[in-house]
């Protein structure tokens, strides 16, 4: 089968500009997993993620002529995907928005930790292959306000650099760093409560 053959982006782009069907298939084979995963991480809903993935590929096909080539193809596709996801989120009524402040670390006036800080990282290590921990973490990520979640997903889930995340979202690097840090602090705080007190709710 041809599905294991990964075609160069350049050839795919050329093929798409000529309207070649093999190029569409090659594009899907190469990127559908990444785009679906990204949409799924942001939207947390299978049918929405599928629909957005379809839209992303259709948009790439239709707009390939306007792809400048000054960034990687996947980075352009991520941008299309994130924008589509954000539009979808805006149309959804969110009732579960949380205040992330509650899970930020607290300090005394002199800037010292206001409460004890335990090291529960070995516990995470111990449960790393445990499905439940993954589920719990997905739930916590899903609770983040959108602007924090998209940054965390691109940076920590997808593993992109701050520069790439900033480029995709049209944000400054300091903005990306600050949102990423707060999103991590929130997850850290949530995990701490879950692992030390067994609490799943905020």
């Amino acid at each position: 089968m041809s599905e294991n053959v990964v075609v160069d982006d350049e050839r795919i782009i050329e093929g798409l500009s000529e309207g070649q069907e093999w190029a569409v298939e090659a594009l899907v084979d190469k990127y559908y997993g990444r785009i679906y995963n990204l949409a799924m991480s942001i939207l947390r809903n299978e049918s929405d993620a599928e629909e957005i993935t379809q839209d992303v590929f259709m948009t790439v096909y239709e707009k390939i002529g306007s792809f400048k080539g000054d960034s990687a193809l996947y980075s352009w596709m991520y941008r299309i995907c994130v924008n589509a996801c954000l539009m979808r989120l805006r149309s959804r009524k969110r009732t579960d928005a949380v205040s992330i402040e509650e899970f930020m670390p607290v300090f005394t006036e002199e800037g010292k930790h206001a409460s004890q800080v335990q090291d529960w990282s070995p516990e995470v290590e111990r449960r790393v292959l445990n499905k439940e921990l993954g589920e719990v973490l997905r739930k916590f990520i899903g609770e983040l306000p959108d602007k924090y979640r998209v940054v965390l997903v691109l940076s920590d889930v997808e593993g992109l650099s701050n520069e790439e995340t900033a480029h995709i979202l049209g944000l400054s690097i300091p903005a990306v760093k600050s949102r990423l840090h707060r999103a991590r602090l929130y997850l850290r705080g949530r995990l701490e409560k879950y692992l030390t007190e067994g609490k799943l709710d905020s």
């Binding site: 069907e21 899907v28 930790h113 090291d119 995470v124 973490l137 840090h181 850290r188």
Partner: protein
């Protein structure tokens, strides 16, 4: 550097973008401050474990469904264009 300042620098510390002098100061603080050491460990572990949520099962049949959907759309679109540009024998006509 106090604990609050240190916590705000953790991301820079972990991605290696911190200047060496500040790094040294941060490490000196951490070596003497157990809460910050524990915070660093749990912050870092959180960051690492987050990567794991990506490994989701992607429905394989979705790939073929996606391909059929796109090819159908493209053929329909092409048919419409062909009707305008080459009315005699368009590719899109079945």
């Amino acid at each position: 550097m106090n604990c609050r300042e240190l916590i705000n620098l953790l991301a820079d510390y972990l991605d290696g973008s911190m200047d060496p002098e500040l790094r040294e100061e941060l490490e000196r603080h951490i070596s003497m401050c157990e809460p910050c050491m524990n915070f660093l460990r749990t912050y870092d572990r959180t960051r690492i474990i987050t990567r794991q949520v990506r490994i989701e099962e992607i429905p394989e049949e979705f790939r073929s469904r996606l391909k059929s959907f796109l090819l159908k759309k493209i053929r329909e679109g092409r048919g419409a264009v062909d009707r305008y540009t080459s009315p005699q024998k368009g590719e899109g006509e079945e």
